[in-house]
């Protein structure tokens, strides 16, 4: 069964009985999961939905439609000017042929890449089984911040980026929620996000941009390109003089949900933007890590990746908003860093 609704209100919340309907946008993750029999159920295809495909601005802040493609988000000049880290993250994930089709909503709600979850012959906690197969098996690429029975890592680079941007997501006929609320704390082994079945994520609501922020996204992988991250990090820094007065640091590839690293942020704020404070702050990225037997190396990589992103952020050109777009950005001011 397939339906092509033309507006969000035509998307049924949930069909009683039988497998839940599955919402399809770009299909870049869903197509393979359906082949692997991991997402049965009737299709709700968003192809004909009118709207949800633009980046809109109000009071200097962006609202990004869920059907905006990753490529659009990466190449939109206004978005890159206001939220440089988000644009960089969007432009670094997957490959050009995927980014051209994959949507923002789909990226946030995609399923994890655990090689046990994606094995059609064996059931894990996220595919109807009663145990985490990775934990007892091969978890070389799994979590080093152990948050629950499931040892997978969250796949969404944009989720990690939006966490660092403190964005909200809008869900049709439901209140807006934070990225933290979208994903939960990682202890729910049954799902990759906390939206109910059939709920339609319609927009990402960005907060007002932080003027003159320096942001960097960095992904640690074994090859040069096109690889799911071993660890990824997004760093945003704001300066007063040479002192860091605002810092947001998030990491991915390390836990069943993207993580913000408040200890790193706290170690940065009030310190100079230099090697010493970066080194000390990056070291705090290890705090709370609880690696599995095979993922101890990732703890080193979290520190290294955060350090790399910090250094790159320090070289980054400060975002334009606040200088030439102060009017539209309005009263946007850096929030406190603590």
């Amino acid at each position: 069964m397939i339906r092509f609704p033309t507006s969000p209100s035509e998307v049924p919340a949930s069909a009683g009985g039988g497998p839940s309907p599955v919402i399809r946008a770009g299909g870049t993750d869903l197509t393979e999961r359906r082949r692997l029999r991991l997402a049965p159920g009737p299709l709700i295809d968003l192809r004909d939905v009118i709207g949800l495909d633009s980046i809109d601005w109000a009071a200097g802040a962006a609202t990004v439609g869920a059907r905006v493609t990753v490529a659009q988000a990466a190449s939109d000049p206004a978005l890159a000017a206001a939220y440089p880290g988000l644009a960089a993250a969007a432009g670094s994930l997957a490959t050009p042929q995927i980014r051209a089709v994959a949507t923002i909503g789909g990226n946030l709600l995609q399923a994890n890449r655990c090689w046990y979850f994606r094995n059609p012959d064996h059931r894990c906690l996220k595919s109807g089984g009663d145990t985490c197969l990775a934990r007892a098996g091969d978890h070389l690429y799994h979590a080093c911040f152990d948050r629950g029975p499931c040892a997978c890592v969250h796949p969404s680079t944009l989720g990690m980026a939006l966490l660092a941007y403190e964005a909200q997501v809008a869900v049709h006929e439901q209140p807006e929620r934070s990225i933290e609320a979208l994903y939960g704390d990682g202890s729910d082994p049954s799902r990759d996000h906390q939206l109910p079945d059939g709920a339609l994520l319609t927009h990402v609501v960005m907060p007002a941009p932080v003027p003159l922020e320096r942001a960097a996204y960095f992904r640690t992988i074994s090859r040069a390109r096109a690889e799911w991250p071993l660890v990824e990090a997004l760093v945003r820094l704001g300066l007063r003089g040479s002192t860091i007065e605002f810092a947001r640091v998030a990491v991915g590839g390390v836990a069943p949900v993207p993580l913000r690293l408040p200890a790193v942020e706290a170690a940065l704020v009030g310190n100079a933007m230099d090697r010493t404070s970066f080194g000390a702050a990056a070291n705090k990225a290890r705090e709370g890590a609880s690696p599995l037997p095979m993922t101890g190396y990732k703890v080193d990589l979290v520190e290294g990746t955060v350090l790399e992103a910090l250094e790159r952020a320090s070289y980054a050109t400060p975002s334009a908003v606040g200088a030439d777009a102060a009017g539209s950005a309005g009263a946007a001011t850096p929030k406190d860093g603590a």
Binding site: M1, I2, F4, R24, G27, T28, D29, T31, E32, R34, R35, L43, D45, R47, A71, A94, T95, P96, Q97, I98, A100, V101, R113, W115, Y116, R118, N119, D121, H122, L133, A136, G137, D138, L140, Y141, T220, I221, S222, R223, A224, R225, A226, E227, W228, L230, Y297, K298, D300, L301, G304, T305, L307, E308
Partner: protein, 938 residues
């Protein structure tokens, strides 16, 4: 239910089998049962199952189509199967390889993941629509730069690169993009042959406007590959084609206690099934094919597989060598009978060896003065002049981008045509004929284009058996191929190895002993032969060389490009490097002292003139975050030849047609034959109409073991010489020429010259057959399986620069210099392409590739090209190739093969470079970031 008949004679009961009856088709051992139980579907006439359809209106290559698609069809499925546009290929099925790339409204998209429904109202461009009305500059550039080998991924690269090119030139004119920019644009494409150096050159050159005019292609079949016209086995779509799918065991060790496919066969559109288990009903590795069925389309076949009822008695499995060697481990082959014909992961015949539990061996045949070697190692231990260490290498999968696939079609009951993605057209025809009891002439094997092989497509494997058996029971053409998961699972792999390596010298630095004790992990297969590699290099010192196989419940290894070589040299060449380092000697000087091989000695001379090597920085020169180091390693490989190889030329007023039952898997078979004959006649390569990939032609060489060049060049020359002689006679008689003699381009005589075309125009039909005559001095050993071994061995020497990012554990290879001694180079461009590709495949092995199984249950985890990582275009540094053409005077044609030798030394050279940079010697592959981080901390 299955009504099982028995038979003792081969060839019993072929052809149409009545509805709901069953038969046993006898075949020889192909890794599955000799007797296959088959059953026909229950519907009398093929029925189309009722499926949900969605109307889609789309424009493809400028033409509007109204299509009916299933909601879950991919755009790729629909364009290939409904529109017959087969240029864009299914590679991985998860958007990692890009072989399926098409432009949708001008933007390149991975169509294997794109729902067909989303094509509604959009405009699609496939490779067939690129440069319509002429070649696009990018296509010309790929042809001119030889930016392809097997060609399977080429369509995807072309579609992406044309979009990049057009956008680039619109914005930047003819400014050349950087490699970095090209790598970014091409990040979603993988080339398993690793033609990346040429792909960079082609795309950069096209953007810079260098290929706006006509070009010459050094590769004979380049045009077919850049236009998507080359038809591979996966592209064949005869009328009434059924799709075969298999049920794979989820368990590594089990006995199938119940197999009931009646519900599946009752489904509309399901036409027949075949049981692939042996009489014991035992499954020995996860992924093993239990049964297969054929249906009217893929969706129906997959649904039918779901409907098959199987019950397993799951047994304890041993996975990996440690578990298999443990005391009390479950034994994979407990019975003597089971041990007679295990799958063979080597390219040679299996020698009879002892067994103890899961351990097969020792194979010590290649030792030399074993006792002296032991004594000398003891002495060197006391003197502190021995290197001893244990090295471990991973299981590497071939994962050619065209999977294992066969399409079988019976004509009546005794004539069979099979398209196979194979490295050995002639051999497969013989094997199929033997297994199905057919006359050799009644079997036709076709493989006009083959999307890579790397060793895994030499022997008769399941896909052929399944396709032939299903085609027989269904009385219809059936195609059966592996998807990417299955290809990585069971398509073939290079065995993992654990090598205890010892190398002893005396005080003066002479090698006094070599010892290697190797345990190979070929899963349920056997045939580890690291000892052979350790015999053919530095051959003078006494040595003890021992191989064991450790059978365990993992999929069988197969021959893989230079079987045993990369493992063997990873251990040995690091031992050599260690000795040189400890002695404070130049590593080349040490090798020169031990190495009598003339070709490699010429390479030592070459490397001594290489400023990057001779002027290299001191050991551990870098102390910062990034550390560079330079390493060197050599390797030896055999020079093989297939003496039965023939080339036929048919000349007539219509032109020169050349035929042989060989195939081109990207290695350039077509080019070297056409070029050799064209050069002999003094005409252009494209004046030759060359047809290969058909078993009806005269016997052709396999594409395996680096034998092709040495096997096809001499008979090509021989055939051309005969043709010239005949044409000179004909011309002399017809035109009454005096002093007629063959010259380039035609027949010279006292009064001038008659071009070949004029001679051919008046010539009757001439047929000549070129043979591969013996080499001077004969061969080293008697022929084995139609293969002769030259007395000379091929040689390589490779210098590698590594850069290590100590913060993030990343290792990259900025520069490589590789020298090869393989005699005369027939096609310099293609030889360079193959060498650079082989080096890159070796780098990919050393840094990224690794099959991972669940450690307890043995099922595949690295099940796609995301988790099974192969090198991409961004991982490619500079690769400089040097060919040393001297030597091999006694080899007919003076050329030996190149395919294997190019990929043997990279892992060893990289490891030596890592040691040079850091003082840490890697003992385990691949060099993943976690291993590098750990190495940095030790």
């Amino acid at each position: 239910m299955t009504d099982k008949l028995s038979t003792t004679r081969r060839g019993f009961l072929r052809g149409t089998i009545g509805t709901a009856s069953a038969a046993i088709v006898t075949t020889a051992d192909a890794g599955c049962s000799k007797e296959l139980t088959t059953e026909r579907g229950t519907s009398a006439v093929p029925q189309t199952p009722a499926q949900e359809r969605v109307d889609v209106s789309t424009k493809v290559n400028g033409q509007t189509h109204r299509l009916e698609v299933h909601p879950d069809d991919s755009a790729l499925d629909v364009v290939r199967s409904q529109l017959g546009l087969t240029g864009c290929k299914l590679g991985c099925g998860h958007g990692a390889c890009g072989a399926c790339t098409m432009q949708v409204d001008g933007t390149p998209v991975a169509t294997c993941l794109l729902p067909a429904t989303s094509l509604h109202g959009r405009a699609v461009t496939t490779v067939e629509g690129v440069g319509a009305g002429g070649l696009h500059p990018v296509q010309r550039a790929f042809m001119a730069e030889d930016a392809m080998q097997c060609g399977y991924c080429t369509s995807g690269f072309i579609v992406e690169a044309t979009a990049f090119h057009d956008a680039w030139r619109a914005e930047h004119g003819a400014r050349e993009p950087t490699k970095e920019q090209v790598a970014e644009a091409m990040a979603g494409h993988l080339c398993r042959c690793a033609a990346y150096v040429q792909i960079y050159a082609a795309i950069q050159g096209a953007c810079a406007g260098r290929f706006d005019g006509e070009v010459e292609a050094p590769r004979y079949d380049a045009r077919e590959k850049v236009t998507g016209k080359a038809k591979y086995t996966v592209d064949q779509q005869p009328d009434g084609l059924l799709i075969g799918k298999a049920l794979h065991s989820p368990y590594a060790h089990a006995v199938v206690t119940k197999l009931d496919w009646s519900a599946a066969l009752a489904m509309p559109g399901v036409e027949g099934a075949v049981d692939l288990l042996t009489e014991s009903r035992r499954v020995r590795y996860a992924g093993q094919e239990i049964m297969a069925l054929a249906a009217i389309d893929e969706r129906t076949a997959l649904a039918a597989i779901e409907a098959v009822v199987v019950e397993y008695d799951v047994k304890p499995a041993v996975i990996g060598m440690d578990a298999a060697r443990a005391v009390g481990a479950e034994v994979v082959y407990p019975k003597r009978g089971d041990r007679k014909h295990p799958p063979n992961s080597s390219e040679g015949p299996l020698l009879p060896e002892g067994w103890s539990g899961n351990l097969r061996g020792p194979l010590g045949l290649f030792s030399k003065q074993r006792r002296v070697a032991r004594a000398n190692i003891e002495r060197a231990r006391k003197d502190g002049t021995v290197f001893e260490g244990t090295f471990r290498t991973q299981v590497q999968c071939h994962t050619a981008l065209e999977p294992h696939v066969a399409l079988a079609q019976w004509e009546g009951t005794d004539k069979l045509t099979v398209h196979i993605s194979t490295q050995a057209v002639a051999l497969k025809a013989e094997e199929v004929a033997e297994r199905w009891g057919l006359r050799r002439d009644d079997v036709r094997v076709l493989a006009p284009y083959v999307g890579g092989g790397f060793g895994a497509k030499g022997t008769l494997t399941h896909e052929v058996v399944v396709a032939v058996a299903l085609a027989q029971v269904c009385d219809a053409p059936v195609i059966y191929g592996l998807d990417r998961r299955s290809e990585i699972m069971i398509g073939g792999n290079r065995p993992g190895a654990e090598i205890e390596m010892s190398l002893a010298t005396d005080a003066g630095g002479s090698m006094t002993a070599m010892r290697s004790i190797t345990h190979s992990d070929s899963g349920v297969a056997v045939g580890g032969v690291v000892s052979i590699m350790h015999r053919i290099i530095y051959p003078e010192a006494p040595r003890e060389l021992v191989d064991y196989d450790v059978t365990n419940h993992a999929p069988p290894g197969k021959p893989f490009r230079g079987p045993a070589g990369p493992q063997a040299y990873f251990a040995l060449e690091q031992a050599v490097d260690h000795i040189a380092h400890v002695r404070g000697e130049d590593p080349v000087a040490v090798r020169r002292r031990w190495d009598p091989n003339p070709a490699r000695n010429a390479l030592y001379d070459w490397v001594d003139t290489l400023p990057e090597w001779t002027g290299r920085p001191a050991h551990k020169a870098d102390r910062g975050r990034y550390r560079r180091g330079i390493g060197i390693a050599g390797a030896a490989w055999f020079a093989f030849v297939e003496p039965k190889s023939r080339i036929q030329i048919d000349a007539s007023p219509d032109g020169i047609v050349v035929t042989t039952a060989s195939q081109d898997i990207g290695n350039g078979t077509r080019t070297i034959i056409a070029k050799t004959i064209a050069e002999s006649l003094g005409v252009g390569m494209y004046d030759i109409d060359l047809r290969i990939g058909d078993s009806r032609y005269v016997h052709g060489a396999w594409s395996a073991g680096s034998r092709t060049t040495s096997s096809v060049v001499p008979p090509s020359k021989h055939a051309a010489e005969q043709l010239k002689e005949e044409l000179v006679d004909i011309a002399a008689k017809h035109f009454r020429l005096k002093g007629a003699v063959a010259v380039p381009g035609g027949v010279a005589h006292e009064g001038g010259k008659v071009p070949w075309s004029e001679v051919l125009a008046i010539s009757p039909k001439i047929t000549v057959i070129g043979r591969r005559k013996r080499d001077e001095g004969g061969y080293a050993v008697p022929q084995i399986m139609g293969l002769a071994t030259e007395r000379a061995v091929s040689a390589s020497l490779q210098v590698v620069e590594v850069e290590i990012d100590t913060r993030l554990g990343r290792l990259s290879i900025p520069r490589t210099w590789a020298g090869y001694g393989v005699g005369r180079i027939v096609s310099p461009t293609l030889a360079r392409s193959q060498a650079q590709g082989g080096v890159l495949q070796g780098i990919s092995y050393a840094l990224y590739e690794e099959r991972r199984l669940d450690p307890t249950h043995g099922y595949l985890l690295s099940a796609g090209l995301e988790d099974y990582r192969i090198a991409g275009i961004g991982d490619v540094g500079e690769i400089h190739i040097h060919f040393e053409e001297s030597g091999y005077e006694k080899v007919r044609g003076r050329s030996v093969g190149l395919g294997e030798i190019v990929t043997l030394a990279p892992a060893a050279a990289i490891a030596n470079a890592v040691f040079d940079a850091t003082g840490w010697r890697p003992h385990e592959l691949p060099l993943r970031p976690d291993r590098v981080m750990k190495g940095m901390h030790t």
